[in-house]
Subunit: 214 residues, 2 copies
DNA sequence: TAGATTGTTAATCGATTAACAATC
DNA sequence: TAGATTGTTAATCGATTAACAATC
C-alpha cells in the first residue's frame, strides 16, 4: 500500500464523477458496462477510463467490461465512503444551513454532528435536527464526538486562528468555503471551495464566448 | 483578438486567484510586486506567474516588476468584472439564500435581479432585497431584465428541461449547483459546482493521509 | 551605468490518448 | 473457438519549469 506512487490530483477529482455516473447506471438497472460506453456517457476517452481505474487495480474483465455495481462500490471504498466521517459546520449562516440540509452527504457517510456560531440568537436552535452550539464549546465538542471534518462557512479572516484550534483538537480534514487561501497546517488535507472564483471563471467564459461568436 | 489561441482552462482557473491576491496587496498598500514575490505568496512558481500573465499581454516592466493596482485591474477586465452581469437564482432554498446574501458578488459586477421558486409560500417574499417570483414567470423576466446568468440551486432532475428554457430565452451562461452533469446546450458556457464531489475528494485525501502517516 | 526583473524560448515533466498483446 | 474488451506499454500532447537575452 505505502509503496504505491501517489495518485494524481486530476484522477482524484474524477473519482466522484465516476461514482455518480455509475450510481445512475445502477438506478437504470444496467449490470455491465464497457470502458467505451462509460467514457461516452461521461464525455471522456475510453483510454482515460481504463488508465484511471488501473491506478487502483483491475476491476474489469477482458471481453466483458466492468460490473457496474462492483465498480461503483470499489470506487466508493477508494473514496472512503464506506466509513462514517463525523463533521461539524462552523458558521450557522445560510451556507451552513444549506449544507446541513443536504441529504446526499449523510447518504455518503458524512454525518454532521453539530453547527457552531457566535450569534446568541441562533445558538440553541436546530437545523435539520442538528443543534447549533456556541463556538466557545467547539474544541471540547470535537474531542468528545470524534469529529473528523471541519466545514468552514464563515467568510471572515477570523477563520485563520480557528484553523489552528480545530487542527490541534484533532480534526483530520478541512472543507473551506471562506474567501481567502488557507495556509496548510501540518499535513491536514484541505479542500477549498471558492464560490466567487467559480463565478468569475463563468464571467470569463461568457466574454470569451461572445468574442468568438462575433 | 479572434486570432489569438484559446487560453487553457488551467490558466483561466488561476485568474481569480491572482485577482484575489492582488486585491489583498492593494489593501495592504503595496504598490509594486515582482513575479517572484507574487509567486511566493500564491505558492506557485515565478515562471508560471509570468507565463500566465503573458497569455494576455506584457503587464510588467523589466527591472521593476508589476504595478499591483494596474495588474489587478487588468485581470479584472480580462475576467469581465468591469461589466455588470444580470443574474437570476433558480431555487429559493438555503443555497439560493446563501448566494443571494453574498456581498462579494455585487461588488464584482454580478447583480442578482430575481429568485425563482415554485413554492407558493416563499413567492412574494424577499431575500437581501431581492424578490422571489414564481417559476412560471421566469422566461419573461429573463427577456425583460437583460439576464445574463442563470444560477441553478435546485438539486432535481427537473433542471434538465429548464436549461433549454433559459437558453432559448437568451441566457449567456449557467452556474450549476445541481447534482448531475449537464449536457452542454448549444455553445452556452456552464460552470458546475458539485459540492458532493468536492467533499468526496476530501474524504479520499483524509484516507490517503492516514495511510501515509502510519 | 549596473542591477533587477521581465518576456519569451527551450527543456522537462506529467497527463492524456493510441495501440496492441493478453485473456476472458 | 472467435469476438470482445481489458490492462498496460508506447506515443503524443500540453502544461509547468528553467534559462537567458532583452530592457527598464
Amino acid at each position: 500500500m505505502y509503496s504505491k506512487k501517489k495518485v494524481s490530483e486530476a484522477v482524484i477529482k474524477r473519482l466522484p464523477r465516476y461514482y455518480r455516473h455509475l450510481s445512475e447506471l445502477i438506478d437504470a438497472n444496467i449490470e455491465r458496462i464497457s470502458s467505451t460506453e462509460l467514457a461516452k456517457k461521461m464525455r471522456i476517452t475510453a483510454s482515460q477510463v481504463r488508465q484511471d481505474l488501473n491506478n487502483f487495480g483491475g476491476f474489469g474483465q477482458q471481453g466483458y467490461g466492468y460490473n457496474v455495481r462492483l465498480l461503483r462500490d470499489e470506487i466508493g471504498n477508494i473514496l472512503g465512503l464506506d466509513q462514517e466521517l463525523g463533521c461539524i459546520i462552523i458558521g450557522g449562516g445560510n451556507l451552513g444551513h444549506a449544507i446541513a440540509n443536504y441529504r446526499n452527504f449523510a447518504k455518503r457517510g458524512f454525518k454532521i454532528k453539530g453547527i457552531f456560531d457566535i450569534d446568541e440568537n441562533v445558538v440553541g436552535t436546530t437545523v435539520n435536527g442538528i443543534k447549533i452550539y456556541h463556538t466557545n464549546s467547539m474544541i471540547d465538542f470535537i474531542k468528545e464526538n470524534k469529529i473528523d471534518i471541519a466545514i468552514f462557512t464563515i467568510p471572515t479572516p477570523a477563520v485563520k486562528s480557528m484553523i489552528d484550534e480545530v487542527v490541534s483538537a484533532g480534526i483530520k480534514g478541512i472543507w473551506n468555503f471562506s474567501h481567502f487561501d488557507m495556509e496548510i497546517p501540518k499535513n491536514i488535507p484541505i479542500v477549498n471551495v471558492h464560490l466567487s472564483d467559480s463565478l468569475m471563471t463563468l464571467a470569463y467564459k461568457i466574454q470569451e464566448n461572445e468574442n468568438f461568436n462575433i
